[in-house]
Amino acid sequence: MGEDRQILAVDILFVGGGPANLSAALRLTQLIASHNEQVSAGNTSSPPLEPRIALIEKGHDVGAHAISGAIFDPIALEELLPDYRDRGFPFSLHVTQQSLQYLTTDGNVRLPNVLIPPSYRQDRCYIGSLQKLNLWLAELVEAAGLYLFHETCGVKILYDGARVRGVLTGDKGLDGDGGRKANYQPGTNIHAKITVFGEGPYGTLAEDLIHQFKLRESRNPQSYALGVKEVIRVKSGGSPGLAVHTIGYPLGPRVFGGGFCYGLDDNLFAVGIVCALDWDDPQMDAQVQLQRLKKHPFIQRFIKGGEVIAYGAKTLPEGGYFAVPRPYVDGALLVGDSAGLLNVPYLKGIHYAMKSGILAAETMFDALLRNDCSASELSSYEARLASSYVMQDLYQVRNFRRAFAYGRLPGLLLGGLTMWTGLGPAKPGGVREDFRHLRPLEQAVRGRWVEDPAQYDAGVLVDKLTDVYHSGTQHREDQPSHIRILDPARCVTDCIPRFGDAPCTHFCPAKVYELVGEGATSRIQINFANCVHCKTCVIKDPVDVISGDHIQNIAWRAPAEGGPRYQGL
């Protein structure tokens, strides 16, 4: 870009407003405040610190793109704010009835609690919406003097040689062809001593960084799952405190994953399903699977007669211990889901995200004191993670998902065993990227199901477009598309003939990809305005299977404007 962009210089820049970065920001401001108190009390000879700290979030606010279960383990919060209960903490509901159910086509078997290791029992956990947690943390962080920029998306990493120097934010006010509208607002170069990437799973910039610095070298590629979730309101008969996890139906034997149904206050239920993205079926559709789960008698008993009021979808990093990248480079750190810090069998990432944020803050505080933001100074972050419960827990369950490669039932036993004992291989390996697993339709192990539109009843069972509506997602129809198919011809000449269908039209949980036209004139149409920023398409886009080379045909970049407006997810 030949133009002069505005430069905004800060000391610390957080990219993404999820629990990881919000906790990091809060911890950093706490450390600085207590340091400065020590300075004014004359207890230390080092100078006071007055860094400028900024956080950018692409959503309308820090809750707008937040979707989680969420069963929240307060362990990291207790460390961050020991008196959190007196500080307006937004959750009050605890898990009171926990169970793990194996669903058959129309029945259920409750798995004995002894199968669940003690550390995974959720009695201490809260049930609530991540949106509320984020908004609350953001309030605390803003009150501590941090600059929070909403609707501001990082679109490019800025470098100074090999050092990360900050990010460029997206240009706003562009038209569909990239031309400038009357209200064109060029993006800003935000310069920082340290940039923290907490963009959640498959961060657009975090992945650029990982690629650029080969941060996953000699580790596993990251594996992901797609989680889709609805909030359902019933007229009466809520079950606040209910936390049911299911395995089995409706997922086919080769899909690793399971469902959940949480009871919230106000006659609300959160129902969702999480499916590992290494499925082989080109017609697998998580949103449809969610409807099938909801039709199951076991789930119906909670939600019958209810109405869907919110919907969202997001990926989760499931590669575990061996897929965690090196989380630091010169001038930058990776936190939370962007670093893959999620515990798969426990289906938990929030408190690991928060703890990684706390550790990142402690690392940055030391770096600021020493005025050294180099990779060698920041490397202590990796050591801190390694000696914390974050990496220790991830190590304990490192072989859980791998055990499921043997199929569901053996996987359950084996997976449970590896979880209890922490045994199993201690080395990375044996993992192929999710996109390599798709198979031609006739070879895929299908879940014996077909989409049946007649089942939708506009109440509790809804089609995909209705769900998209409930996500509140919005992109200006005249903004440039943030999704591109690099070589559209290959969709028709390679992908569809090979798989027997267009997988993107099924795996996208927001009906962004649509096959239009017939035969030789058919093509994939991109309804980018529907997108809920879940990242499934970049992960699952299979075209590289054909070329043998990892050249993705779908290019998804976080857009400068728009996205879901999640409410209570």
């Binding site: 505005q6 920029f149 501001t152 006010g173 509208k181 009357a182 009843d457 919005q474 409410q567």
Partner: protein, 267 residues
């Protein structure tokens, strides 16, 4: 040139609303609030007029009520866009009012400020009353032009020329200053606040005026002064389930026409 814009914070248009149990209000917890989109046109227009004339200042004014969540934030958004001054009218006495008492409070505050042009959105998208701006003009005894989608200011002659879209054409209206304009979509493309603008706005103090500042009797405003009482809100009827007409395109169109004619009776 002194420009004043009155703004309101409203739930974002794509919000999904639920009624409170007694059916006289909406649940506000968990909603995202934004500056009313029509008010954004008004703010943008004021900023553009200031820029075109090369001088002037833009003041934004907002009234806190039970219907808005965080009027401070809305005012800061306007400061970040480039407004010079922000005033929040806030007093428990203002609670429970209607569009008339809102206009009374705003008019009382505006009498304390000097202005050449007042800008409002044509309506707030939450209650869609569209009544506050024009009542303020009446209370202040100044001319108003409503639902304007093009505006020219003639500083020499102290007039504004406003264009209004009417059935089948455009109405061009001239009014002497001071005047009040309510703004319609199409007037401009509101700018995005810049990052330095947002940083700057965060550090600015908002002026807060209460009932005493604007010297208005508490009986006259809020629930005591309101002439309208909201009896009941009803959600729109639930959307009936859609129907997919199978078959090839030609046959499906025939069936669609038949259904529209015979069942829906719309053609």
């Amino acid at each position: 040139m002194k420009l004043i814009v009155c703004i309101k914070q409203v739930p974002a248009t794509e919000s999904k609303l639920a009624m409170t149990r007694d059916g006289t209000d909406i649940e506000r917890a968990g909603l995202t609030f934004v500056v009313n989109p029509y008010d954004e046109f008004a703010v943008e227009e004021a900023l553009q007029i200031r820029e075109r004339l090369g001088s002037g200042d833009v003041t934004v004014l907002s009234l806190r009520s039970h219907a808005v969540q965080n009027p401070e934030q809305a005012l800061r958004t306007c400061l970040a866009m480039g407004a010079d001054r922000a005033i929040l009218l806030s007093d428990p006495a203002f609670d429970g009012g209607d569009n008339y008492t809102t206009a009374l409070v705003l008019a009382a505050a505006l009498r304390r400020l000097s202005f050449d042009l007042l800008l409002f959105g044509k309506q707030a998208v939450d209650d869609d009353d569209g009544a506050v701006g024009i009542q303020v003009a009446e209370l202040l005894g100044i001319p108003h032009v409503a639902v304007v989608n093009k505006l020219e200011v003639d500083r020499q002659n102290k007039t504004v020329v406003a264009h209004r879209q009417i059935e089948g054409g455009i109405e061009v209206v001239e009014a002497p200053l001071p005047a009040l304009i309510t703004c319609q979509k199409g007037l401009n493309e509101p700018r995005y606040p810049s990052l330095p603008g947002i940083m700057n706005a965060k550090q600015r103090l908002l002026e807060v005026w209460n009932r005493e500042t604007i010297e208005i009797a508490s009986e006259a405003v809020g629930s005591g002064g309101a002439e309208l009482k909201l009896v009941r809100l009803e959600p729109p009827p639930p959307r009936p389930i859609g129907r997919i007409i199978p078959d090839d395109a030609a046959a499906a169109v025939q069936e669609l026409v038949r259904l529209l004619h015979e069942e829906a009776k719309v053609i």
